[in-house]
Amino acid sequence: MRRALANPLALSGFIIIVGIFLLAVLAPYLAPYDPNAIDVKAILLSPSSTHLMGTDALGRDVFSRMLFGAQISLLVGLVAVGIATSIGIILGAIAGYYRGWVDVVIMRMVDVMLSIPTFFLILAVIAFLSSSVVNIMVVIGLTSWMGVTRLVRAEFLSLRNREFVMASEALGASDKRLIFMHLLPNSMTPIIVSSVLGVASAVLIESGLSFLGLGVQAPQASWGNILTDGKEYIQFAWWLSLFPGLAILITVLGYNLFGEGLRDVYDPRTSAKK
């Protein structure tokens, strides 16, 4: 970790992530207003000292909504990636360790899933379910495990033939011991890198869904639905588009910088190229 933070890319990404994390966690203390408090006498006010980021079409304080929206973005990002990574590790480990027909079946499943554009698959699933935060997290998680599966399988395949693994096997280690004590710990780095990058794409997908009205539902705030509310007033109430847009940009940038930085540090292949 210390090595990672010595990398300027990773460090700047890490600072952004921690900053947003703190804002989200401390939202209830930092927010000057209730994010859902409607005030029809204060509609579409521009940013000022009383409303740092102005107010929206129902007179709600945009700054407070942005803070609570950060909670949603981070929650969706982390939980969705948690689900995707867990599924990916399990399926990838099974495929890579046992090989044979199990491998073939799992990898064909991966191919099938990859052949469907993820965002449209999510749109279709959400259209059948009602859109709640829980559903969104689960659906994003269930549709983005393929990359991790391939990664884990590839790591397992290459580690499987390494001397320390074969030695352990020769000494009579069980499948369980081999997988959990040797193969998995040695595959963690690429998994972490891909998870961090996965959070960035989950944040984007949640924002996209909310922007299309299929994500987080009113009155709960999310960056995507603040942005979509602002679309109609863009020539007039720029603050409704600018702040959530910037927030999404900075967050995604933060995760990407951190993820790329980690990869540069830990992945011998990319480091070697430099």
Binding site: G59, S130, A218, D229
Partner: protein
């Protein structure tokens, strides 16, 4: 309804620079012919035969092409359009129309009573896929004693009959006989008898109409009407500011916030505000518990602050509603007032109905909490209304989950099947006060309009009497009583009636302000664009 029309996209871009900006759009000019009016519409018509298309995008264009027997004048009284006169028999069962002399179709062929009879047969033919057939199927006999006379007979007096003949666009028999009306190419190449005829339809882009020299109604002033298809409201507004369109429908924010802040826009555009014949409401599924309990419905009505919705969502550009008719018309009962905002009374009613706080602020009875899903369509104003309702109901212990749906799904999957707890929706009404299809208990089949499941024998009887009664004063009494029962029983909560907001370029003259009862678009043939104010146009 507004009008419009269009222009030659690229050629017009430079029109507002240089000398043009010094033009005084407020000066008076005498009416003159010529010029082009460009307007924007959100959807492209599926075809231009109104009875088949059944959509506002089509009727907005087709109203300039086709004529009916009758029309509404600016004060909403009937006047002849193709008909010179009409007579109702003493027993109210027979109506005889006399056509004007020497009527012609735009292609020069004579327009006679045979065309009217042909159109009636079409609209009542079961093979014709139209939602408008029911009014005309009540005609038991239609005949044409001579080329200028058309006579219809009803089994019983039918109050909306005259109104129905003002809504049927007469189609040319000589072009449509023997063709399949549902699929004919005529829908994209119509021939009518009104002020305008189709000049060019560029799919995905615009429709241009030009004056019909053989018009049955005389000549309009403006030479060309162009409607550009621009689905996005914000994009329409950009085009308006860029001087590429002359007219558009505004949102409350554009009308009340953007315009007042932009003096340069005020110099070029005149704003018009008129109360539409429509209202927005919160509807209950009366077949589901607990909405069968009048106390729950009334409690919800008391708990919602309607003025807050008018102020917050419509920015004050709306009126409170207490009867299912346009406020201020004879059918709206002037003695009725909306339920006052009174959360204490709402809580008392819910308590009376047996609901107790279960500890988390949500009321429940027998373990069943007052927790519902509120559906609405992707319409910014309705979504915002839903959020305001959600907050107010929470204050009295009712939990609401909002679900916003795309229009086709909302209607097809949930409304037509009555699969909902609560909905925020709107009714756009005809001018005749008959609302049989909305409230009568027989109109509850899938796809019919009484999807809330309202069933009240007293209301049924009033609706049946209302459509048989031809005396306007007696009808007024009937519909005032109907409104009183509906308000008391609260099967829906009236939210508001919003104003229709229009911006029209000041180069267009002859627009009545304020709008007459029939609306801004009633006299578009009298609008004109003085030569000095026209766009610089390159004519092909």
């Amino acid at each position: 309804m507004v009008l419009l029309v269009g222009l030659l996209g690229a050629c017009s871009q430079s029109s507002d620079t240089g000398v043009k900006t010094s033009v005084n759009y407020d000066a008076d000019y005498a009416p003159e012919d010529g010029g082009t009016l460009i307007d924007a519409t959100r959807g492209e018509p599926s075809g231009l035969i109104p009875m088949i298309a059944g959509e506002s995008a089509a009727s907005e264009v087709a109203q300039h092409i086709f004529s009916s027997l009758l029309r509404f004048d600016k004060n909403l009284e009937f006047e002849g359009q193709l008909a010179e006169s009409w007579q109702v028999s003493p027993d109210q069962k027979i109506i005889t129309f006399k056509l004007k002399p020497n009527l012609k179709w735009a292609d020069g062929k004579p327009l006679t009573s045979a065309d009217v009879l042909f159109t009636w047969k079409l609209v009542t033919d079961d093979k014709t896929r139209t939602p408008y057939g029911s009014d005309y199927k009540l005609v038991i006999k239609a005949e044409t004693p001579d080329a200028r006379t058309f006579r219809v007979s009803y089994a019983e007096p039918y109050a909306p009959a005259i109104n129905s003949w003002a809504g049927l666009d007469i189609l040319p028999k000589h072009l449509l006989e023997g063709k399949d009306i549902n699929t004919t190419a005529f829908a994209r190449n119509p021939v009518g008898s009104h002020y305008y005829k189709l000049e060019k339809w560029r799919p995905g882009e615009q429709i241009t109409l030009t004056r019909n020299p053989l018009s049955s109604q005389g000549q309009a002033h403006i030479e060309r009407l162009t409607s550009r298809f621009i689905p996005d409201e914000a994009a329409q507004f950009l085009e308006l500011m860029a001087n590429n369109i002359d007219a558009m429908t505004l949102s409350p924010v554009q009308y009340a916030r953007i315009f007042p802040a932009r003096p340069e826009l005020q110099k070029k555009f005149a704003l018009y505000k008129e109360l539409g014949n429509s209202y927005t409401y919160l509807g209950f599924n009366l077949k589901r518990k607990p909405f069968d309990d009048i106390r729950v419905r009334q409690a919800i009505n008391y708990a919602i602050n309607k003025q807050e919705i008018i102020d917050g969502v419509l920015l004050g550009l709306g009126e409170p509603v207490a009867s299912p008719y346009k406020p201020g018309t004879r059918w709206a009962n002037p003695n009725l007032k909306p339920y006052a905002y009174d959360p204490a009374k709402a809580r008392a009613l819910l308590q009376e109905a047996g609901y107790q706080d279960r500890g988390d602020g949500i009321l429940a009875r027998n373990g069943k909490p007052l927790s519902f899903t509120l559906l609405t369509s992707q319409n910014k104003q309705r979504e915002m209304s839903a959020v305001l309702i959600q907050r107010r109901l929470k204050e009295v212990g009712i939990e609401i989950h909002i679900r916003v749906l795309e229009w086709a799904t909302f209607i097809g999957r949930f409304i037509k099947t009555s699969d909902f707890d609560m909905v925020v929706l709107g009714w756009s009404l005809a001018l005749d006060p008959d609302q049989y299809s909305i409230w009568h208990s027989s109109q509850q089949a899938p796809g019919q309009f009484n999807f809330i499941g309202y069933n009240n024998p007293r209301v049924d009887r009033l609706l049946e009497r209302g459509r048989m009664e031809l005396n306007a004063d007696k009808r007024t009494v009937i519909y005032h009583e109907l409104a009183e029962i509906l308000l008391e029983e609260s099967p829906i909560v009236y939210l508001s009636a919003g104003y229709g907001l229009q911006a029209i370029h000041k180069r267009v003259k002859g627009i009545p302000d304020p709008a007459p009862p029939a609306g801004l678009g009633n006299n578009t043939h009298e609008w004109y664009i003085p030569q000095p104010l026209r766009r610089t146009e390159i004519t092909p």
